[in-house]
């Protein structure tokens, strides 16, 4: 496929994503939604932390969790969103079969559709960090931010999110109504397992190994270290910057390979079962 054709198809899928995400409400309500939602989530986190630790919101540990929580918007919105696209297209719009039998290719389509969600996640993360900076005084020293490894971390994280989303989209093709609860479960499981709001060291040992197999654990740890100067996990603190980035890259590479082949197997299974045009919500 020519690059121009790929771009044309990707752009139209991104355009559709924007229409679907933004057109359900009037602009004022939509703006309110994209501002209010992340701030509400951040406020909940602050309330939870206050309840557990008193009013010590300035603690370094809280800053780490707050920042990871801000970046978790990408997993919530983009990764889970790719699964939602499949479910929504099949069950609500009933258009999945027309997209699937067109030459756009599901990867291009899902990648394009997720672009708007990526933008929304970026807005959400930025707003949460701004609230932290101005309201909760969760601040970092700009002079100490290590930009190069931070940018590499963000780039690798983007790849991990897109490919994990692809695998989830494949799973949603096979699943029927269970896809709804699965998608909600994935959001919560990642929140729990990847050290968003507490160090992974606190998890039972078997779950720690699950945690280390997930790229987001490394992502949040690397963001904390390169932005704030320190991570949350004592065990991962023993790694050098290069070791941390190397492990993150390796886990992401494995995720890419597993997701790529896993998606193909799941799509094959969905086609074998006749699920691609099957409406299961009734």
């Amino acid at each position: 496929m020519a690059v121009s054709t790929f771009f044309q198809r990707w752009r139209s899928a991104a355009w559709l994503g924007w229409q679907v995400e933004s057109n359900w409400a009037d602009p004022a309500l939509f703006t309110l939604y994209i501002v209010a939602r992340p701030l509400a989530v951040a406020a909940m986190l602050v309330a939870m932390y206050w309840a557990v630790r008193g009013r010590a919101v300035h603690e370094a540990a809280f800053a780490g969790f707050y920042v990871a929580n801000a970046f978790h918007a990408y997993a919530n919105t983009v990764l889970v969103g790719m699964g939602w696209v499949v479910f929504e297209e099949r069950e609500e719009f009933e258009t999945l079969k027309y997209v699937y039998t067109s030459p756009i290719g599901m990867f291009t389509y899902l990648f394009g559709r997720s672009m708007v969600r990526f933008t929304l996640a970026t807005i959400s993360t930025t707003l949460t960090l701004l609230m932290g900076w101005f309201v909760l005084h969760i601040r970092w020293d700009w002079a100490l931010v290590r930009w190069a490894p931070l940018l590499v971390t963000l780039a690798i994280g983007g790849v991990a999110i897109v490919f994990s989303g692809l695998l989830l989209a494949g799973a949603c093709m096979v699943m029927t109504r269970a896809a709804v609860t699965t998608l909600e479960g994935v959001t919560l499981a990642l929140y729990l397992l990847c050290g968003v709001i507490f160090p992974v060291d606190l998890l039972p040992v078997p779950l720690q190994w699950v945690s280390y197999a997930l790229p987001f654990t490394w992502w949040y740890e690397a963001i904390r270290r390169f932005l704030l100067g320190a991570g949350a996990s004592q065990r991962l603190a023993a790694l050098t910057d290069m070791q941390l980035l190397g492990a993150f890259a390796l886990v992401t590479l494995v995720t890419v390979i597993v997701s790529r082949f896993g998606y193909e197997r799941l799509e094959h299974r969905a086609r074998a079962l006749g699920r691609l045009d099957q409406t299961t919500l009734y």
């Binding site: 496929m1 020519a2 198809r9 752009r11 139209s12 679907v20 719009f93 079969k97 027309y98």
Partner: protein
């Protein structure tokens, strides 16, 4: 990069195509296709005609790469639907009738444009084509209306236009006029025929419930039932296969205790009956063999106590051929009575 198609390859070819749906909890499996052999040449309008559950849509789904066959082979434009699905998708279009699909937040025009982009059609070509299609389906006045505000019929017309927006080599029309009003259905049938005639090598595979639609549109028809192709020929040849003798329709008033069966009528090989509960009568359709008079048959019926309310004779239709081949009419409930 798209591979060069074999220009000599038929538009569609299936060999021993079989699809079995396994069911859970020990229920018996369903054989949707039981070894279908088809060969559709380029430039043909080919019809798949059969009752509900005959296997028509399953066949279309396999050819459109939506479903794997259990066994057998299917090729579209020379490409295997299992191994070369991407190549197949570059060349096909699909329209399914009787459904409410569509992105409610898009307008008709936006939806057609978006699908043209999925197929890689340039804006320079897409825009005039969309103009023409919107005119064909008579949606000009509401082309900027969101899809969630359209009636079912309007959505169907939009979906019909969507199928043509990529100007596909092979177009699959799965009951495209189901639920449409008579006038819209007629206009769309005419457009399909014009589209095929004006573009060399374009092929249409049509599944339909409507005998007249198949008869009017198709160069050849395969009659399919219970997953098997029972006959495949031109509509004229299918009609000829049952020619000879008169085609008779009788409306009879059954009497209590008297079976409205025609099996004892001399020379009548097969008949088909449709009840009219509101009138309390039964329409019996049968072919009277050459040399036999209708008067004799009527006398036999009256001797059996059946009151004949109406009699009509007519030319051989595709429906006659269908009934002879399948053993019943397109109506699911209808079963042979002799």
């Amino acid at each position: 990069m798209s591979r060069t198609p074999d220009a000599s390859a038929p538009a569609v070819e299936t060999r021993a195509l079989r699809r079995v749906f396994k069911t859970s909890r020990g229920a018996p499996e369903t054989v949707a296709l039981a070894g279908v052999d088809l060969r559709i040449e380029r430039g043909e309008v080919f019809g798949l005609l059969g009752p509900n559950g005959a296997g028509k849509t399953t066949c279309i789904k396999i050819l459109n790469t939506l479903l794997f066959p259990s066994t057998g082979e299917a090729r579209v434009a020379g490409f295997d639907v299992v191994k070369d699905a991407r190549e197949v998708r570059e060349r096909i279009g699909l329209v399914s009738g009787g459904e409410n699909s569509g992105y409610g937040i898009l307008t008709i025009r936006e939806c057609l444009w978006m699908f043209s982009q999925f197929y890689g059609v340039s804006d320079r070509i897409a825009k005039p084509r969309i103009d023409e299609l919107i005119r064909v389906v008579d949606l000009q006045a509401i082309q900027h209306t969101r899809i969630n505000r359209l009636s079912t019929g309007q959505r169907q017309r939009m979906n019909f236009a969507r199928g043509f927006v990529s100007d596909p080599e092979i177009l699959f029309l799965d009951e495209p006029t189901l639920g449409m009003d008579v006038n819209a259905a007629r206009l769309l049938r005419e457009y399909v025929l014009r589209w095929v005639r004006e573009r060399a090598g374009r092929t249409v595979l049509l599944t339909t419930h409507y005998m007249a639609e198949a008869d009017q549109m198709c160069d050849r028809i395969a009659i399919i039932d219970r997953g098997q192709v029972l006959a495949c020929d031109t509509p004229a040849a299918l009609r000829r296969s049952v020619q000879g003798g008169q085609h008779v329709e009788l409306e009879v008033l059954p009497r209590e205790g008297v079976s409205p069966s025609l099996d004892e009528l001399d020379g009548v090989a097969l008949a088909w009956g449709a009840p009219h509960p509101e009138r309390g009568t039964l329409t019996l359709k049968f072919r009277l063999p050459e040399g036999q008079t209708l008067g004799e048959s009527l006398r036999q019926l009256e001797q059996r106590g059946l009151a004949v309310q109406g009699v009509s004779t007519r030319e051989t239709s595709l429906e006659d051929a269908f009934i002879r081949i399948v053993g019943r009419g397109l109506d699911d409930a209808a079963e042979p009575v002799a």
